[in-house]
């Protein structure tokens, strides 16, 4: 099957330091792919490369290709804004804008030129429902998003990312700042979302990778050491390094 997102020989330097050393990774459509590995192995860096977040950092130099439906997002002259509209992102720390709940969700639609009030309302409701937040906030849409709890804020951020209907959703340790109950809700949400979207998630939590991911990639010092179906990677790792990491010998 043709991958939705394909990373091809990707190198990334911060100044003179090589952080990603030739990554190859195929992300199939409607799958959840988890990136695991010790701190500093480059998994977040790889994730951020997938929607060109490194463009904001003049120190970062990217070489290689990332193909979205066979179309290189790093091709010269490529419209970054269009790329990011197709590849959304949810960050480690919930980062709602200091605006109302409604405006948070509507933001991406408004900047894309959607001004029809009714349509905006319909989409806000639909995305809030799909992130299981509607019942909790439906009477408070005008309240500041910052008044929500951490778990609610993160679900709002997911709803915000989903509202612009991207094709791929990148999640950078989306549950690391949350309690177990909020985490469970977000995992449930991810399994629901993968019916429509392709998801790449960075996680430090081995159980989380096993609960949600179809495929898991183990990264170490800027390289993908092993990439396999999640069950297989955790039950019968092929590489010694993977096995050592999973059994907690380092990390």
């Amino acid at each position: 099957m043709k991958p939705k997102l394909a990373v091809r020989n990707l190198h990334l330097h911060y100044g003179t330091k090589e952080v990603l050393k030739g990554i190859d990774l195929d992300v199939p459509e409607n799958n959840i792919v988890a990136l695991i590995g010790p701190s500093g192995c480059g998994k977040s860096t790889l994730l951020r490369a997938m929607n060109r977040m490194h463009d904001l950092n003049p120190e970062a130099k990217v070489k290689g290709k990332i193909l979205l439906d066979d179309d290189d997002i790093y091709a010269p002259g490529k419209d970054v804004v269009a790329v990011r509209r197709k590849i959304g992102m949810v960050f480690q720390k919930p980062n709602p804008f200091p605006k109302s709940i409604f405006d948070n969700i509507a933001y991406g639609l408004k900047i894309a030129g959607e001004n029809n009030k009714q349509k905006l309302h319909a989409i806000v409701e639909r995305t809030l429902r799909s992130s299981y937040l509607w019942e909790e906030v439906k009477d408070d849409l005008d309240k500041s998003a910052l008044s929500l709890s951490g778990g609610q804020q993160q679900r709002l951020c997911i709803a915000r990312a989903v509202a612009v209907e991207p094709e791929v959703l990148l999640m950078d340790e989306p549950c690391s700042a949350l309690d177990p109950i909020s985490t469970a809700r977000i995992e449930e949400l991810m399994l629901e979302l993968k019916k429509q979207y392709t998801i790449v998630i960075v996680t430090h939590n081995m159980q989380q990778a096993q609960r949600v991911a179809d495929l898991t990639a183990f990264m170490y010092f800027g390289e993908v050491i092993e990439f396999a179906p999640t069950r297989q990677l955790f039950d019968a790792p092929q590489m010694e390094l993977t096995a050592n990491y999973l059994s907690g010998n380092f990390g």
């Binding site: 003049p58 269009a82 990011r84 509209r85 980062n95 804008f97 991406g108």
Partner: protein
Amino acid sequence: MQKRHFIDIAIKWLFFGAAATSVMVLLGIFGMLLFNGVKAFAHISLAEFFFSSNWNPSAYGKPSYGILAMLTSTFLVTLGAMLLAVPLGVGAATYLAQVATEKTRLILKPVIELLAAIPSVVVGFIGIVMVGPFIARVFGLSNGLTALNGAILLAVMSLPTIITVAEDAIRSVPNSFKEASYSLGANQWTTLIKVVLPAAYSGIIAAIILGMGRAIGETMTVLMATGNALAMPRGFFDPVRTMTATIAIELGEVPYGTTHYYSLFAVGALLFLISLVVNLLAENLAGRYRYKL
């Protein structure tokens, strides 16, 4: 053990004393202004003081003490200064905080801060010999020493304050807001206008108010460059005399203990109150703008 305890207490009181001294000075100044200012109202009615535009304390027989003209002048010059300085200052702050490269910023910032180091008398001098005549020529006035002249000079003087404080506020907007905006397909411009500046809103307001405080209290520049006419100004092209300029001009020659003498203290107390309110407002807003990370 006993000795160390004693030193602890002594040091605590020493620092308390240092802090208390500055508070005492502030209260002392305000008390002095108020104490002397109140005496003026033994002979002046509050209505005349605030609502008459006729200030002529040394008139023989029937002196008048209305501050409305100078209050209006102060307001006019400050307003003009803000109209010029706010767009310029906030624009420059935005550029420094979000657009400029680190290298550009490191060069520009000290230069802008240097602007604050120009003595006000030098700014006033420039107003008399350059800006004033320029205004006169451009607008066809017989005399360029007007409220507009003062406003332009005060705008330049309050720019460093506005830029420094506003830049700080804009820079303190968490990067995560920007990332979220970019990840939703916003470009740099949209992110700036719709996310970064609104998030820095209260800090920017604080910057503006602090710049305003600088403009309200400035004396030497307006004294030199605005023409010092006591009449009620009709607009930016009229010469004006602000509250600060009036005190500076008259206090040196006024006979001690007269109603005129006390009335100048009353003007000073009012000026102090205005500055105080402006500063408290800024303080209050500035404290709120930092996001808890």
